[in-house]
Amino acid sequence: MTGEHARPGAASASTAAPRRAALMITCLADMFYPEVGERIVRLLRRLGVEVTLPPGQTCCGLPLFNSGYHDEAAAVAQRTVALFREDEAVIVPSGSCAWMVKHEYPGLLRGSADAAAAERLAERTWEFSQFLVRRLGHTAFETDVQGPLAYHDSCHLLRGLHEGIAPRTLLSHLAGAQVVPLPGSDECCGFGGSFSVRLPEVSTSILDRKLANLEASGARCLVACDAGCLMQIRGGLARRNSPLRALHLAEVLK
């Protein structure tokens, strides 16, 4: 996937790029991968975006929602909607959390006092790569990462938000980086939230397939836009003492 998809700037040309954006750090990035958040903040600041972090963030509630605890998920959604009520743009480092806010919050809060605010938040929420490409229209970055890169499509980003182009656009524009196709890039890594511990053997077997495809691709580093996939894929690579790496897109861009 190369240059022909890389004209997203045109779509957002009519609306001025935002000067301020709030970061929804999400629970996994907050607790396990804070460096991803740091990279995002530095990158955006360099692009002239003032990043804010509304205090008191927890989790978007996706694990509750997916396991069927919808009243509980709605209570969490209500809190999150209130936290980001005033923000012009909200950036999320994981496709699955962005999907939760954009696709499920409005339904969960329909008929409540927060329904309109949930709709507004859904419209203003961006997954990280989408924000760069489709909102800022910025695709030129550099990288320190050595060796060929391969992109893994996170399920919620690809099939939930229908986004497979923005991250690839960013990677294909990286000066000096080689991007190789990942066989079965659109196949699940086997994480699936609580699925990974409810059926751990199946989850791992699905992961094995992903890792075999990564090895076959010739890439030295897998790139993804979801902390859940990264936890799964890195967990598998580390267990195998693999020399290959898995990074969040924000850790690749400079």
Binding site: F32, P55, N66, G68, V197
Partner: protein
């Protein structure tokens, strides 16, 4: 409730399947081929996307007036000289077929592939009254010889390698030393089955569609066995779920354009058999009697239920082929007649939500099923709905419900969230080695037995924020 509840835990069933090397090999080859063929078929067919929307709309519109279309179908089948029976349950459906078999003095029934007759466990019932059922679809024939049940909706023997089939044929048909050559094996099956077609008094089939305004029952097959089973025996019985009715032949054209492409990547299946009642005066071929059994078995209740969309299903099997879980464990591990993502929904429809307490979680919710489904059934959403029902009806284990409700309480309070993070950081200390966690006790071991866990960062991003 029609099927015995499977008691072996799902995780154990799945783990056993994962340990079966031949199963893994067979599944990987077959599903990969199906995925490629399906993709190529739709790549060559730009109008496919629009037709999928159209097909979905037809299914929805038909469901809204299902009673009208069923009445129309019944009237037209009867006008053509056929008999229509309505079965509210699997037991009733079995009794109807057994009644026909007894009354007509049948001794042998040739069957064309049918998931509906699998659903009502018809073969065992026929055998019990002395009627020998013979499966005539090659895949079904293989699994009948092996005394197994289908592990895929359209490729029932998908879990077997050609080597296993050669061994099975050698043993069961008394022809030692057969080669693992699909052509040779198919020829042998054909010889065996030809005899049966000529002997059988009863032909039993399913139906892919039934056209209301003409009374036509439509069978989509690749081997011609459907045509033989509907024309050679004296009596033909078709068993179909009530949701298979479609309004008109124009609608049929829409479905035929996408069904085989979704199932096997073929433009059309080799045979599309249209059955209109029994043999009429002056016709040379066809049965003396034609019976259509309309099966409810939990379907009608779902027209207004959470599983409504699963009534759109064409039984093409595309969602199985792309499902990462199905591709690893195969169909038998699911435990019921219908495997795969759609199978979980159909199992819940037939046997109640309690039957899928664990199966409802046998999905990473990756969405590949919904994307592959020719009528775009939102399977992940309905799986989530089923999970919601597990909580609401207290089917989920109380321990799980307590854990999730406690978790929810923590997420509603930034103070509890911070405290939780601190406790986690302290508790993990004894387990961190070289920047990773390789083993954890209790429930957490479900992760660490096969994967490393990253340690929680010494400072969360929110704690680092003021220094950024």
């Amino acid at each position: 409730m029609t099927e015995p509840i499977v008691t072996t835990p799902l995780r154990e069933r799945a783990t056993n399947a994962l340990g079966d090397r031949l199963l893994h090999e067979a599944l990987d080859i077959a599903t990969t081929r199906f995925i490629t063929l399906r993709r190529e078929a739709f790549d060559d067919f730009p109008e496919g996307e629009q037709l999928r929307d159209r097909a979905r709309a037809i299914k929805e519109a038909t469901l809204q007036r299902l009673d009208t279309y069923l009445e129309m179908l019944v009237a037209n089948v009867e006008r053509l000289g056929g008999h229509v029976h309505f079965a509210a349950t699997a037991e009733e459906a079995r009794d109807i077929v057994l009644g026909i078999a007894r009354r007509t003095g049948a001794r042998m029934a040739v069957k064309s592939k049918s998931m509906a007759t699998e659903e009502i466990h018809l073969n065992d019932a026929l055998q019990a009254i002395g009627v020998t059922p013979v499966e005539t679809d090659l895949g079904e024939y293989i699994i009948q010889l092996a005394h197994e049940r289908p592990s895929h909706i359209i490729a029932p023997a998908i879990h077997k390698t050609k080597g296993q089939v050669a061994e099975l044929f050698s043993r069961e048909l008394g022809r030692p030393g057969l080669p693992a050559d699909p052509e040779v094996l198919t020829k042998i099956a054909r010889e065996e089955l030809r005899e049966k077609f000529l002997q059988a008094d009863l032909g039993i089939t399913g139906a892919n569609f039934a056209v209301a305004d003409t009374g036509t029952v439509v069978l989509v097959t690749n081997e011609g066995n459907g045509r033989m089973a509907t024309s050679l025996p004296r009596v033909h019985v078709a068993v179909m779920g009530v949701e298979k009715v479609i309004p008109s032949m124009t609608d049929l054209a829409v479905f035929l354009a996408i069904l085989a492409k979704s199932a096997t990547g073929q433009k059309l299946s080799v045979y599309t058999t249209l059955v209109q009642g029994p043999r009429r005066p002056g016709e040379l071929e066809g049965p003396d009697e034609f019976h259509l059994v309309l099966l409810d078995n939990g379907r009608i209740a779902q027209i207004g239920g959470t599983l409504r969309e699963s009534l759109y299903c064409l039984r093409c099997g595309a969602c199985l082929n792309v499902c990462p879980v199905y591709r690893q464990i195969g169909g038998h591990a699911y435990g019921y007649t219908y495997p795969g993502p759609i199978g979980i929904l159909l199992t819940a429809m037939i046997n109640g939500p309690g039957s899928v307490k664990d199966l409802a979680h046998a999905s990473s919710l990756c969405g590949a099923c919904a994307e592959a489904c020719p009528v775009r059934i939102d399977i992940p959403r309905m799986l989530i709905e089923l999970r919601r029902e597990m909580d609401a009806r207290r089917i989920a284990p109380w321990t799980e419900r307590v854990v999730f409700k406690t978790f929810a309480r923590i997420l509603r309070s930034p103070w509890l969230y911070r405290v939780g993070a601190r406790i986690g950081r302290i508790a993990q200390r004894p387990f961190v080695r070289d920047g990773g966690i390789r083993a954890l006790p209790f429930f957490f071991g479900h992760w660490t037995r096969t994967r490393d866990l990253p340690p929680m960062s010494a400072r969360t991003f929110q704690e680092r924020w003021r220094d950024l």
